[in-house]
């Protein structure tokens, strides 16, 4: 899962301190695996170096915790691009897709459209595999089937999430 882009997405809502970002991240995306402080600050300084955020010295004093980070235009457009692109239709993409959906809802972006785009990408891959299994040997067919069943499970999740977007928006809304 993409920690830098997720932090950027959280920063887009409002400028934040590293500590607050970590807390938000753990609340929404941590799932029992909290993000280490070291990783938060390392990621933020990399984002600052690359021009996606700037560190505003909000309070006097030293230390990373005193800095408030603000997303730049470039950072916003990186988020925009990332959210719009479907994830490669491979098994176990839920984590990334879940993050995208939640961030999209938080920022008032069209989460349903992202899910539809993802759905289309999955269907495209399923058509490829279906074609493969139709033309191929039994071994090809069995391997293709394995992929098809995984993609189908993802699609069920995508459909269910699409049907529950309103409720999810209320839950993650501020």
């Amino acid at each position: 899962m993409s920690v830098p882009l997720t932090l950027l997405g959280l920063l887009e809502r409002e400028p934040s301190h590293g500590y607050d970002l970590k807390r938000e991240y753990d609340t929404f995306f941590g799932r029992g695996k909290p993000l280490p402080f070291g990783q938060v600050y390392a990621t933020l300084s990399r984002l600052a170096r690359d021009g996606s955020v700037v560190a505003a010295e909000a309070e006097p004093g030293a230390g990373p915790d005193r800095k408030r980070y603000v997303i730049t235009e470039q950072g916003v457009s990186e988020i925009e691009t990332w959210l719009t692109e479907p994830v490669a239709a491979e098994p176990h993409l839920q984590t990334v897709l879940f993050v995208k959906v939640v961030l999209a809802l938080m920022s008032g972006r069209p989460a349903e459209r992202y899910l539809d785009t993802q759905r289309a990408e999955h269907m495209r891959r399923m058509r490829e595999l279906t074609e493969l299994r139709r033309g191929g040997s039994l071994v090809d067919a069995l391997l293709a089937d394995h992929g098809l069943f995984h993609l189908e499970a993802d699609l069920r999740w995508i459909d269910l999430t699409t049907a529950r977007l309103d409720a999810l928006a209320r839950e993650v809304g501020r």
Binding site: D116, R119, A120, H122, M123, R124, M126, R127, L129, T130, R134, L148, L151, E152, L155, D159, A163
Partner: protein
């Protein structure tokens, strides 16, 4: 029975079959709200979406079974929603084939008579109709079942008989509404294999209603119906 009609002008390019802002009300309940979509000639299109979203209603409008409350339906450059019931039933008989979730075979008839039925209804002589019907048994892996009644067929066999009946008249468009909905996955796969192979052989256009992505993956494209409207079209713009 007839070759796909050729049409002059731009309609063919836009789609062999088109729904334009089609709305349908059942009493107070809107089943379709300004649904717009099209199917190109020779295309296999999957119509997906949650149950109750309006997929079957859309299929019925496209097939001239149901007249929409508003909007237009065009087939091969002709507007069909304003046709008389007689014209539409001739159109269904001559140009369209149907397969539904439960084969809906006629229990009093043998398997081959069931397949021959559309031809018999279209006035084809009995001997010829039965001969043409029989030619499908081999293709659809049904040999030996010609004389059976529905009660003596497995679900998969009955559904392949229904498929043969849908295709026997060489329709321009085959309408299939959850054709594998009552089958296990192996039998469903066999039906889809045969449906797709036959459609490709004869350049038959297919409107395939299904909520099952594995079935939809046999199609060239998919559209999604949600709350009576076409919510998404995964199609590269022409």
């Amino acid at each position: 029975m007839n070759p796909a009609p050729s049409t002059a002008g731009g309609d063919q390019a836009r789609g062999l079959l088109e729904a334009r802002e089609v709305s349908v009300l059942f009493g107070q309940t809107p089943a379709l709200r300004a649904a717009t979509m099209s199917v190109a000639s020779g295309e296999i299109l999957a119509v997906m979406g949650p149950s109750g979203s309006g997929k079957s209603t859309l299929l019925h409008c496209l097939a001239g079974i149901l007249t929409p409350n508003s909007g237009e339906v065009h087939f091969a450059g002709r507007r069909i929603d304003t046709m008389s019931e007689g014209e539409r039933s001739a159109l269904r008989r001559d140009q369209f084939g149907f397969v539904f979730q439960f084969g809906q075979l006629v229990p009093e008839l043998s398997a081959e008579e069931n397949v021959a039925l559309p031809l018999l209804l279209a006035g084809v002589r009995r001997a010829e109709a039965l001969e043409r019907a029989r030619s499908w048994f081999d293709r659809l892996d049904l040999d030996g079942l010609q004389g059976r009644r529905c009660g003596e067929l497995s679900g998969g066999q009955a559904q392949r008989i229904a498929l043969a009946r849908g295709l026997v008249g060489r329709p321009s468009v085959l309408f299939a509404d959850e054709p594998t909905g009552s089958l296990d996955s192996l039998a469903g796969e066999q039906v889809m294999e045969l449906l797709v192979a036959s459609a490709r052989d004869h350049q038959t256009t297919v409107v395939l209603v299904t909520h099952d992505p594995r079935v939809a993956a046999y199609a060239d494209h998919e559209i999604i119906v949600r709350d009576g409207a076409v919510a998404f079209t995964a199609r590269t713009p022409a």
